[in-house]
């Protein structure tokens, strides 16, 4: 082989190749985030944003009881939704990967799973309201059947409704990466485990679950970050009675309090990055890519 045909060490080629993506990230990710960080130190009044360097936005944010309550509430939602989407998503992915034998049916059933995405998020949420309401379909049916005497009020404008809507929205984000991981599992490993006398449950726990960890990790990142950043679902399904970090930011922006919203955004970004980092330490998602 001709030695001169090889790239010499220090060649500029790799840098040229990566430059376009780096520029895109710099312009559309780094610059906006830097702007948000800068604005978070500014001041404001009813009608102006005042360039400045003050710590007031952070001091209020980090010392306020409402921040703690809001984060506890938001993390609560994230944990509940994560647990439910994981349980449901794993079962669905397992069924699709190991019990549906033909590619055709896998595709058909996968398309079935995507049907909720054929309408917008907001319509999907709003459609729960006439179903779950005090005089909604479910309560009317239960009363008609004599199962209950009074409408079940916890069904709507409640934490229950918020979590239900989130699970409805986000389960597919757990199904897809887990399914992807499961499809990569060597089927002979399962046969070997069965030959060695493992029960079905043991196979799931000792073979399939560990080998699905990358998919679970990716799905978890999707679900947790989406819930942490949400504001519309919490507002609609709680009837405006619960708070999330996203709602607090939305309120501040609506009231022209951009510096306060920016500080909130910076803190949320830090918190979410820490959560993602923690998840990445548990799972090596590089095996998934």
């Amino acid at each position: 082989m001709n030695p001169s045909a090889r790239s010499s060490p220090g060649s500029a080629t790799p840098y040229v190749q990566v430059a376009p993506l780096a520029v895109i990230f710099a312009l559309f990710l780094v610059v906006p985030i830097a702007t948000i960080v800068v604005v978070s130190f500014w001041d404001y009044d009813e009608f102006r944003i005042l360039p400045d360097f003050i710590w007031d936005n952070y001091v209020y944010l980090l010392t306020s009881q409402v921040t703690l309550a809001t984060y506890v509430n938001t993390v609560k939602y994230a944990v509940l939704v994560w647990a439910l989407t994981f349980a449901i998503g794993f079962v669905i992915a397992y069924f699709l990967a190991f019990h549906v034998r033909t590619m055709t049916w896998q595709i058909v059933l996968f398309i079935l799973c995507t049907i909720p995405f054929w309408t917008s998020n907001i319509i999907r949420m709003i459609s729960w309201i006439p179903f779950l309401g005090r005089n909604g379909l479910l309560n009317s049916t239960l009363i008609h059947l004599g199962v209950v005497d009074q409408p079940l009020e916890f069904l709507l404008f409640s934490d229950f409704a918020v979590v239900l809507a989130f699970v409805h929205l986000y389960t597919l984000f757990m199904v897809v990466p887990i399914f992807n991981s499961m499809m990569r599992i060597d089927r002979s490993l399962i046969e070997a485990a069965a030959d060695a006398g493992a029960s079905g449950w043991q196979i799931v726990r000792n073979v399939i679950l560990p080998l699905s960890k990358p998919g679970i990790g990716i799905g978890s990142i999707f679900v947790v970050t989406l819930v942490m950043g949400d504001f519309i679902t919490v507002r609609l399904m709680s009837g405006g009675q619960s708070s999330s970090v996203g709602i607090a930011m939305s309120n501040e922006i609506a009231l022209l309090q951009y510096p306060a919203a920016a500080a909130n955004a910076v803190v949320l970004l830090v918190v979410v990055l820490l959560m993602v980092a923690a998840m990445l330490r548990v799972v090596d998602v590089r095996k998934e890519l």
Binding site: E46, F47, R48, S64, Q65, N135, S238, Q241
Partner: protein, 429 residues
């Protein structure tokens, strides 16, 4: 060669072109003093107007085009988005149709220009609430951001509010109303007579208020004062101690499960009431009408302590000038000339010049909407739908009964920053 009949010669073409160019110069305003041509040119003017949904109505734009030739591009937003746009996107609009409490926020930003009252044809027919703060000479001026307190600028180029009438108006009033609690009389078994009934434990889990701090705080103040818990110096400009006490009472009620939901958009309010999720809530007039239009009983209940009022008006963008500015004044004068006023009155609102509106309403409509008398015939909405059956009486009675009992206006307070934080804490509790 003999020239063919009708052929255009080079000389003729040049002569005609010059005449066309001269006409264009005159019409464009480069050469002043030709009103007949000017009148033709406002038909080519487009004005971009935004504001809340209550008055950014397509029907008004259509009628304006028909009567004046001016094209209005209407954009309807919620209250907070209106303030946001007025402050942050000054070049995206020509006309801002904003509420007076929003005006207190955005006018000092310098994005709008005061209007010369000498150019306002019906200035002297504007309801005195917007000029002196008093509906009648005997009236008490209500608390809060009353329209007259932010209705005038100190001078032509000023961004400061004047305490009294000047020749420069910040907003031309367009629409206003007196708000109160709405109730489902078919689901409520006891009389509702006071604002404090919103926190009555017998309505636990069936009450609602709106989640807009400048408005919600005034509802909360009406409730707390009605309960006898607080006597405000000025509900429209609370001290920190008053804010704390008010929000503590509301937070306690929330934690006790008093509220079924909070609403932010008109549709949410209508749906909560129509579905029976809520039986008592702070409502807006068209929401009450919308619930009734579904055949569901809903009453806009007069209360002993009075009403919380709101008002909106038209303001002009700072950058507006020349032909567009002239067209804007034409629009304002047309707006106050009666057709629009009658349209708004038929929706259950009040208009700025009720004298001119009266000329565009039937005697029965006027008697029902403004005089509080029983309807002789079915009362129709501007779109022709039946709003009220013959024999019905407007909730709360006449214009003077309702606007004469205003206790406060939606407000922006000096401690607004603190208030917003406390309000957010209340929502998060």
């Amino acid at each position: 060669m003999k020239r063919k009949p009708g052929a255009t010669s080079r000389r003729t073409f040049l002569k005609n072109s010059a005449a066309i160019a001269a006409g264009a110069a005159i019409g464009s305003g480069a050469i002043p003093g030709f009103p007949a041509i000017w009148a033709q040119n406002i038909k080519n003017v487009t004005l971009r107007q935004f504001g809340t949904g209550v008055s950014n109505l397509n029907a008004i734009a259509e009628k304006c085009k028909q009567d004046l030739g001016i094209t209005l591009q209407m954009t309807a937003l919620d209250s907070d988005s209106v303030a946001q746009r007025a402050v942050t996107q000054p070049n995206s609009f020509d006309i801002a149709d904003i509420e007076y409490w929003v005006c207190k926020k955005v006018f000092p930003a310098g994005n709008m220009q005061p209007m010369d009252t000498k150019k306002i044809k019906y200035y002297d027919k504007i309801v005195p609430i917007f000029l002196t703060g008093k509906l009648t000479p005997q009236s008490t001026i209500a608390q809060g951001t009353a329209p007259h307190t932010v209705g005038f600028a100190k001078g032509k180029n000023s961004v400061e509010f004047a305490a009294e009438e000047t020749g420069w108006m910040t907003l031309i009033p367009t629409i206003y109303n007196a708000d109160t609690l709405g109730i489902r009389p078919d689901l409520i078994k006891k009389p509702v007579k006071n604002w404090r009934d919103l926190l009555d434990p017998s309505f636990k889990g069936k009450a609602s208020i709106l989640n807009i701090s400048s408005i919600g705080i005034m509802d909360a103040a009406m409730v707390c004062e009605s309960m006898g818990e607080i006597k405000y110096g000025n509900k429209g400009n609370m001290t920190i101690a008053e804010i704390d006490k008010t929000m503590a009472i509301m937070t306690e009620a929330k934690k006790a499960g008093q509220f079924r939901a909070f609403w932010k958009s008109f549709d949410e309010s209508v749906n909560l009431m129509a579905a029976g999720e809520v039986v008592i809530q702070s409502m807006w007039s068209p929401a009450v009408a919308a619930v009734r239009a579904k055949g569901i009983p809903c009453v806009y209940q007069p209360l002993a302590e009075g009403y919380r009022a709101w008002g909106g008006g038209i303001g002009l963008a700072k950058h507006l000038s020349g032909l567009e500015l002239d067209a804007a004044y034409e629009y304002i004068n047309w707006y106050l000339s009666g057709w629009v006023g009658a349209y708004l009155n038929r929706q259950g609102y009040y208009s700025a010049c009720i004298e001119t509106a009266k000329q565009h309403m039937s005697a029965d409509e006027w008697a029902f909407w403004m005089e509080g008398k029983p309807a002789k015939t079915d009362i129709l909405s501007p779109e022709g739908k039946v709003m009220e059956k013959a024999g019905s009486v407007r909730d709360g009675g006449s214009f003077y009964d309702r606007m004469g009992a205003v206790a406060c206006w939606n407000a922006v307070m000096d401690e607004n920053k603190y208030l917003v934080r406390k309000w957010n804490e209340f929502i998060a509790a």
